[in-house]
């Protein structure tokens, strides 16, 4: 029997190429390369050929088998790729559909600001002190140079529990407690954020409960220039490096000299806007710790000096997030809270 190797190869390759699925390809493979396939049968005839024809026949048959095996493998790969492509096309989704929601929690804006304030002062070497909110009148007033009949008690109408115990009206009593705990060690370098209370009605800018952060540095050679520089550094970290500050004379019974610290308004950069008016915003009440307060704290005012400051955290928060109504901070409407994710 004469074998038309060329023809045979052409037919087989055409069939492999024509197979559209893995099943069809397998059929073709079995037809040629299977146990009863054309090529297998051809090779089985080899023994019956005259010896001089055998090498040539063997070479042709093996070459055909090898070629076909390769063609089948190639084709299988092609088919698999096509099938995968089709499957992926079928699996396409509308990518604009919303993602599966994660339950979103949030941190209260006021505490976020408190954290930021803490972070800045921690970086400047301050520790965070705490003091009781229910406080003795003595710590809240007397120790801070505000005796019973001092006129500046007018501005701070207090909520009293007994004659001697009240809800602190300011974070300043922490100054006394910290100094008394620290004396005579130096430096005393703390901030004290916390709740304070005054006998005020709740409206868009007032509340009977609000938040302050107190700062205190007592050491040898502390000056009012240090106070200004410290709060300037704070303002720059909080509002940006362009921020400028200024000290304006003011009065607090427990500091002298006393000042208000203004910072350029972060909203308008100090050009003046509807929030600040003049381009300046009051940021802190501050001053040099009054010698009598140092004495109460257990320090000798001849040996050390100190500065103290107090800031309204609620106001900082409102400014930072452009909140115009203080009451929002305490209503805990989740539509408000969840904006601070």
């Amino acid at each position: 029997m004469e074998w038309d190797w060329v023809r045979l190869r052409q037919d087989a390759e055409a069939e492999v190429a024509g197979a559209a699925t893995r099943a069809e390809l397998e059929e073709v493979r079995i037809r040629y390369l299977g146990r009863k396939g054309v090529v297998t049968r051809a090779l089985a005839q080899l023994g019956r050929l005259p010896p001089e024809e055998r090498p040539e026949f063997g070479r042709q048959a093996n070459s055909l088998r090898q070629g076909l095996e390769e063609a089948v493998a190639r084709r299988r790969e092609e088919i698999e790729r096509e099938e995968e492509t089709r499957r992926l096309r079928e699996e396409a989704v509308d990518v604009t559909l919303p993602g599966v929601p994660v339950r979103r929690g949030s941190l209260h804006p006021l505490y976020r600001v408190a954290e930021e304030v803490k972070r800045i002062f921690l970086g400047m070497g301050y520790r965070v002190a705490e003091g009781p909110e229910v406080e003795y009148d003595w710590y809240n007033f007397e120790a801070l140079n505000i005796p019973r009949d001092h006129p500046s008690r007018d501005a701070q109408e207090s909520l009293y529990i007994t004659d001697d115990i009240l809800l602190r009206t300011q974070t300043s009593p922490v100054q006394i407690r910290v100094m008394q705990a620290m004396a005579p060690r130096l430096p005393v370098k703390v901030i004290a954020p916390g709740k304070v209370y005054r006998r005020d009605t709740v409206d868009p800018t007032h509340s009977f409960m609000f938040h302050q952060v107190e700062g205190l540095l007592v050491d040898r050679g502390v000056t009012m220039a240090d106070l200004k520089g410290t709060l300037e550094e704070f303002a720059r970290q909080l509002y940006g490096p362009e921020t400028r500050v200024r000290l304006r004379p003011s009065y607090f019974p427990f500091t002298e000299p006393s000042a208000e610290l203004d910072a350029t308004c972060p909203l308008c950069g100090g050009k003046g806007c509807s929030t600040c008016g003049s381009g300046w915003l009051e940021m802190a009440g501050c001053g040099m710790v009054h010698p009598r307060v140092l004495e109460v704290g257990g320090y000798d005012p001849e040996e050390v000096t100190g500065f103290a400051f107090g800031m309204g955290l609620d106001r900082l928060t409102m400014l930072k997030y452009r909140i115009t109504d203080l009451r929002l901070l305490f209503q805990n409407d989740v539509r408000f809270l969840e904006q601070f994710i």
Partner: protein, 816 residues
């Protein structure tokens, strides 16, 4: 404090306009709140000559007046009596504008045209109806018709509104005080009224001076000298009722006071001008025409000038006559002895009352007067009698009274300039800048301090009597600072002892807890520490529940916020209700904050402020989504959050056991414990409590004593080696009676699983078909693993069989 500029300029030269002055005063510590133009609106107010006056033809009691106002001849209908042709009067033309903005036009009265209006002083100054007994303002005959009255008097000024801090209120609550401040800024001098300058007594010893006619007419006895270091009296005779001249009235008005009668106006005028409150008594209404300064006696009463009867107490200092109190010292006079049109003789009181006494009386009675505001800050004792003389001389100039000779001046205490010392080097050391000594001395000198620098390192400084606020060295340093200029203080950073900033363990863990709770999907809330007294009833707490032991604010503004919370939950539940009321479909809140737990009640010591953590939630856990709905908040969702929190803080092992909180669902609540420590409680809200808070649907909540949690928390984490050998998983499902908690089954499984049981997980809880009533089926997946070899099936089967047997034997479980 309102300062009319023209008045201030009488006392001191000002090289600046109002805006610049305001700026400079603010920088010197006298904060100028606003600069206001008074009388800006005025127009068409002129002098007019009456040409003819005749009765109105039809309306009795009215007259027709023809006026010449420099522009035209006008007709005005008037009811004012006593006018005559030839008089020059104050007149508002038609189209003219009175203070307050009232515009005049043309009207008809009884058919007669009336153009504009003739004006009484009250109309001219205040724009209000004339006072009783007050007629049309008649001007000197030589005033030309058409003269602009706004400029003539004048009736226009720029007013600075000062917001004085407590320390500057001592010496700046007067034109004179502000003038002294201005002079310190300009380096100029203050001009004093001559009579004031002459009688100003910089220092006097204690004693009594009574002389002249005044001493024969009246006497003063100060019984309580501790509250009244100085009391002076002058006597005026031939007093006649009158109104003050227009310029005086205008200044009072511009400074924010109402003009009344000449005598009262002058006392107010001098108080505004010199800072010394004065009071005029009708001398003939004082019993025995004498003054006794004493504390009130129990039961005494006084009707004050505002017409109110005041009950007095023994703490209050009063001015009395021989019999009864006639004034509240330094606060307000009495109605019975006030100056009236019938008054013929006046006793002019000028005194120095103790600041604290005045303040107490004023506060106790709720009477905030200009006099009290000045006395309670401390007045200048040297100016007392001089100011009184200034007032009397003004009244004489007005021609409404005659000052009799002599005076009575009783001084239980003397007074005089105080001494303070100042180390000039200390100024720079406190402020952090170099100020030359000459500048320090100069600044103090310009403020009226006497500076003796001969001490070299320590100076003697004489404090003027009007500076009650200046006591020690630091006060002087502040004076130098504000005059030198706060703007000139540089910015430096402290260079003292080294210090490192860090958070304490508790602070760090608390911050971490808040982050975990936010990560768990809750929104951080900030609620008021004060709650309503009925909060405990709303929670249904028993009468002896320890949480009812709460501190109460004695003087709350609203009872809604009057009790210091002993739990965070009332606040959070109220906030959930707020959210539901605003139709918010889902809310989950947490808070980490203090509760206030008192010791004994009423408290003698501060309460324990314990940090608690709490959460409360309602609604679907997630927003509805196209991939399927979310579970609704219930016990297990919030339990999961607590477990997460405690795990993350390294607190464990934690047990949940059934509990009996009255405010929680009796079958869905658990006490949370760690060893012998009670950490808190978690559960679903009792429907009765939900109704009390007007909450709909299921609400779940938990509360932890976070201080205890913090104590148990650990930041230690140890690495556990990853398993090197494969695990074998076996499931076990069994039916268990409802009264046996799953925790018991887990305990049995663990005990019998032994060292090879790596973990177990409940994956199904089933009731219904095939399950006995009162039972449920639990299915656990158990993972077995050995750390040092691959387990064979036989080894696992043996252990697992032991577990299954134990469930049957120990718990009566039916294996499925």
């Amino acid at each position: 404090m309102r300062v009319p500029m023209a008045w201030l300029r009488e006392y001191v030269d000002i090289p600046w306009d109002a805006g610049e002055l305001a700026e400079r005063l603010t920088w010197a510590g006298l904060k100028v709140e606003s600069v206001e133009e008074v009388g800006e609106e005025l127009a068409g107010l002129v002098a007019a000559r009456i040409l003819e006056i005749r009765p109105h033809p039809r309306s009795p009691g009215l007259w027709l007046c023809r006026l010449e106002d420099g522009e035209a001849v006008r007709q005005v209908v008037t009811g004012a009596p006593g006018l005559a042709a030839g008089q020059v009067v104050a007149y508002a033309r038609p189209g003219g504008v009175l203070p307050g903005g009232r515009r005049l036009g043309r009207e008809r009265f009884g058919g007669e045209l009336s153009e504009g209006m003739m004006l009484a002083a009250t109309e001219l100054v205040l724009g209000e109806e004339h006072r009783e007994g007050e007629g049309v303002l008649v001007l000197p005959a030589e005033v030309t018709p058409g003269t602009d009255l706004v400029r003539y008097f004048p009736l226009r000024d720029t007013v600075l509104e000062l917001e004085l801090t407590v320390n500057y209120a001592t010496h700046c609550q007067s034109i004179l005080g502000v003038a002294r401040e201005v002079a310190s800024l300009t380096g100029g001098r203050v001009r004093l009224p001559a009579v004031f300058a002459r009688d100003y007594q910089p220092g006097l010893p204690a004693g009594e001076d009574a002389h002249g006619e005044a001493a024969r007419i009246t006497s003063v006895r100060v019984e309580d000298g501790d509250l009244c270091p100085r009391y002076t009296a002058l006597v005026l005779e031939d007093v006649r009722p009158a109104f003050s001249p227009v310029p005086v009235q205008f200044r009072l008005h511009a400074a924010g006071m109402r003009p009344l009668s000449a005598v009262v106006d002058v006392t107010n005028y001098v108080m505004l001008e010199l800072g010394q409150p004065l009071h005029a008594f009708d001398l003939d209404r004082l019993e025995e025409r004498r003054i006794v300064v004493r504390r009130a006696r129990e039961g005494e009463r006084l009707r004050t000038l505002d017409g109110r009867d005041r009950e007095l107490d023994g703490e209050m200092l009063v001015i009395a006559d021989a019999v009864r109190p006639v004034a509240l010292a330094g606060v307000m006079g009495g109605e019975e002895t006030e100056v009236t049109p019938a008054t013929r003789r006046v006793l002019m009181e000028a005194a120095w009352f103790h600041p604290v006494s005045v303040r107490r009386t004023s506060r106790r009675l709720g009477l905030r007067t200009g006099a009290a505001a000045r006395f309670e800050k401390g007045i200048d004792p040297a100016a007392v009698l001089a100011a009184s003389r200034r007032a009397c001389s003004l009244l004489e100039e007005m021609g409404v009274a005659r000052l009799v000779s002599g005076s009575v001046d009783v001084r239980p205490s003397g007074y005089g300039a105080r001494q303070a010392s100042l180390r000039p080097a200390r100024v720079g050391a406190v402020l952090g800048l170099d100020i030359p000594e000459s500048e320090i001395a100069g600044a103090l000198g310009r403020l009226g301090f006497g500076v003796d620098t001969t001490g070299g390192e320590s100076w003697r400084v004489t404090v003027p009597t009007w500076r009650a606020d200046v006591v020690g060295e630091i006060d002087l340093i502040e004076e130098v600072a504000r005059l030198h200029g706060y703007q000139r203080i540089p910015s430096t950073l402290p260079t003292g002892s080294p210090a490192t900033g860090y958070l304490t363990r508790e602070q760090r863990l608390t911050a971490r807890a808040r982050e975990i709770l936010a990560a768990a999907g809750l929104a951080e809330a900030l609620t008021f520490s004060l709650i309503a007294p009925d909060a405990f009833d709303r929670l249904g707490l028993g009468g002896d529940d320890p949480r009812r032991r709460a501190l109460t604010v004695r003087n709350p503004l609203s009872v809604e916020w009057s009790v210091l919370r002993t739990s965070l939950l009332p606040g959070l539940l109220a906030c959930l209700a707020h959210n539901q009321a605003h139709r918010v479909p889902r809310a989950g809140l947490f808070e980490v904050s203090a509760v206030y737990l008192p010791g004994e009640l009423p408290p003698r010591e501060l309460p324990s402020e314990r940090l608690y953590a709490a959460a409360a939630a309602y609604g679907p856990w997630r927003d509805p989504h196209w991939r399927g709905d979310s579970p609704e908040v219930d016990y297990f969702l919030l339990k999961g959050v607590v477990e997460y929190l405690l795990d993350a803080l390294g607190v464990g092992p934690v047990e949940f056991t059934p509990s009996g909180e009255p405010f929680l669902h009796p079958g869905r609540q658990a006490r949370i414990t760690c060893g012998e420590h009670l950490l808190g409680v978690v559960g679903e809200l009792h429907p009765r409590v939900a109704r009390a808070y007007e909450l709909q649907g299921r609400v779940a909540a938990w509360e932890l004593d976070f201080s205890t949690v913090l104590a148990l928390a650990t930041e230690d984490r140890r690495y556990r080696p990853l398993p090197r050998y494969p695990a074998v998983t076996r499931d076990v499902a069994f039916m268990l009676a409802d009264h046996i908690p799953a925790a018991r089954a887990e305990e049995v499984i663990r005990r019998h699983g032994g060292a090879l049981l790596e973990s177990l997980r409940l994956f199904d809880v089933f009731r219904g078909e095939g399950i006995l009533p009162g039972h449920r089926s639990l299915a656990y997946s158990l993972v077995y693993r050995s750390p040092d070899k691959t387990l064979t099936d036989r080894e696992v089967d043996e252990v697992h069989a032991g577990v299954r047997r134990a469930l049957e034997v120990e718990l009566g479980a039916t294996l499925r």
